[in-house]
């Protein structure tokens, strides 16, 4: 007897409906596949729960000093802790970034833009969530606004440090292509949207830190999805 397709078992474990009734028939008679599915469901459940654990705080700064003193570590010659890459935090941040790109992943931040003028119509909007390179205080929002004569992407950010170079706003298709829209100054800017850009495809707004003269996309600071 052939066992169930592992791809289908994975989808079932993730809670997707699988229209192939022969899989259900097979599961009724095959204990091996049933236990396989049960194990994968457990993994999916714990995997989903990790969402709550993505932004774990580090212990207070002086804890390392206490540990170093107790274990006789040399604290004089090493690079200060905060300047070294934090692998744990880094992959948590990656997780956060991936989640933001998804449909329901927008991280709620307080609205920081003022209400649009009466003559304007908001076509889409989204909060921008902080990525790994941005300080904890960073936040932002983006709106697609139709004014009397044009459509703009209105981006507003707050809590961002002065850039070494500049901050640039991009539209991103979530996969491979990024469209540069313009430079963000004083935390806010209206950027004209070319009519040829399909916002159903380019739904992710990205704010990046760019070095002077850097043509390609730099370091993402904030990201969010228009909805």
């Amino acid at each position: 007897m052939a066992h169930a397709d592992p791809d289908l078992l994975t989808l079932l474990a993730l809670g997707e409906p699988v229209p192939d009734v022969s899989v259900e028939d097979h599961l009724r008679v095959c204990a091996t596949c049933r236990s396989e599915l049960a194990a994968l469901r457990e993994v999916a459940t714990v995997g989903r729960e990790t969402r709550a654990e993505r932004d774990l705080p580090m212990p207070s700064e002086d804890l390392w000093t206490r540990i170093a003193a107790e274990t006789g570590q040399d604290t004089s010659s090493v690079v200060p802790l905060r300047r070294r890459p934090r692998r744990w935090r880094a992959f948590l941040a990656v997780a956060a970034a991936a989640a933001v790109i998804g449909a329901a992943g927008a991280v709620a931040v307080d609205r920081i833009t003022t209400a649009p003028a009466a003559s304007e119509q908001v076509l889409a909007q989204g909060d921008l969530a902080r990525l790994a390179s941005a300080p904890d205080s960073a936040r932002g929002s983006a709106r697609v606004v139709r004014t009397a004569d044009r459509t703009v992407l209105r981006v507003s950010v707050d809590g961002m440090p002065a850039p070494d170079g500049l901050y640039q706003v991009w539209l991103f298709d979530g996969a491979a292509t990024m469209i540069p829209l313009g430079v963000l100054t004083n935390g806010q800017a209206d950027m004209p949207l070319p009519e040829t850009v399909d916002l159903n495809t380019y739904r992710v707004v990205d704010v990046s830190a760019q070095r002077w003269g850097q043509q390609e996309h730099g370091t993402s600071m904030l990201q969010g999805r228009l909805g």
């Binding site: 592992p6 791809d7 994975t10 989808l11 474990a13 993730l14 809670g15 997707e16 194990a39 994968l40 993994v43 999916a44 714990v46 995997g47 989903r48 729960e49 990790t50 969402r51 709550a52 654990e53 993505r54 774990l56 705080p57 580090m58 212990p59 207070s60 804890l63 390392w64 206490r66 540990i67 170093a68 107790e70 274990t71 570590q73 040399d74 090493v78 802790l81 070294r84 934090r86 692998r87 744990w88 935090r89 880094a90 992959f91 948590l92 990656v94 997780a95 991936a98 989640a99 790109i101 998804g102 449909a103 329901a104 992943g105 298709d173 979530g174 996969a175 491979a176």
Partner: protein
């Protein structure tokens, strides 16, 4: 099964060897996870940080007893932290108020439902395994986990072919399961 030995990286090796800087590297990688597990049973932040301190000091002094064949360094540290937290709880047992607080809140962050500390350990293991997946596989899996997207929605969002999405999901889940089962067996 390859056991946990395929997860032994340079940091872990240099930790066991007692290299200079290795404890610091391990601390940076895992202190947040150790604190999370300690906090899940100890409502006082000061107590939880004491457990973190004891855990890393104990781990460093007994590093030669760490056996990568039995589980990952992360789980070894979290196991030490759990034991220390339980020791501390026993010391507090006469203080009924502490016990009541524990039962009321289950520890952990205030926004959380009460979660058993063992479950927090499971989450840390899976979270680390997620972080070690190839980036595209990880992104696909997280869109399923965190955003509840179906494989078709993931394909539409990422522009990846359906078959690629399905295979990323399967491989990612298989990898998480391997890591979890290996490290689950260590407890």
């Amino acid at each position: 099964m390859t056991g946990a030995s395929d997860t032994v990286d340079e940091t872990t090796k240099s930790f066991v060897a007692g290299d200079e800087g290795a404890l610091r590297a391990v601390y940076e990688r895992y202190a947040a996870a150790v604190l999370r597990v300690a906090s899940s049973s100890l409502p006082s932040r000061a107590d939880a940080e004491d457990v973190v301190q004891t855990t890393f000091v104990t781990a460093w002094r007994s590093r030669e007893s760490f056996d990568p064949a039995k589980g990952s360094l992360l789980v070894w540290l979290l196991t030490i932290a759990r034991r220390r937290a339980i020791d501390l709880l026993r010391a507090h047992t006469r203080d009924e108020q502490v016990v009541r607080v524990l039962h009321d809140t289950g520890g952990g962050s205030p926004s959380d439902e009460p979660v058993r500390p063992e479950r927090i350990v499971d989450r840390m293991v899976v979270l680390e395994a997620i972080g070690e997946l190839p980036p595209q596989q990880r992104q696909v899996l997280l869109l399923a986990f965190y955003d509840d997207l179906t494989h078709e929605q993931i394909a539409a969002t990422t522009g990846l072919p359906l078959g690629t999405v399905k295979s990323h999901l399967r491989r990612g889940m298989t990898r998480l399961r391997q890591r979890w089962e290996v490290d689950g067996g260590a407890r």
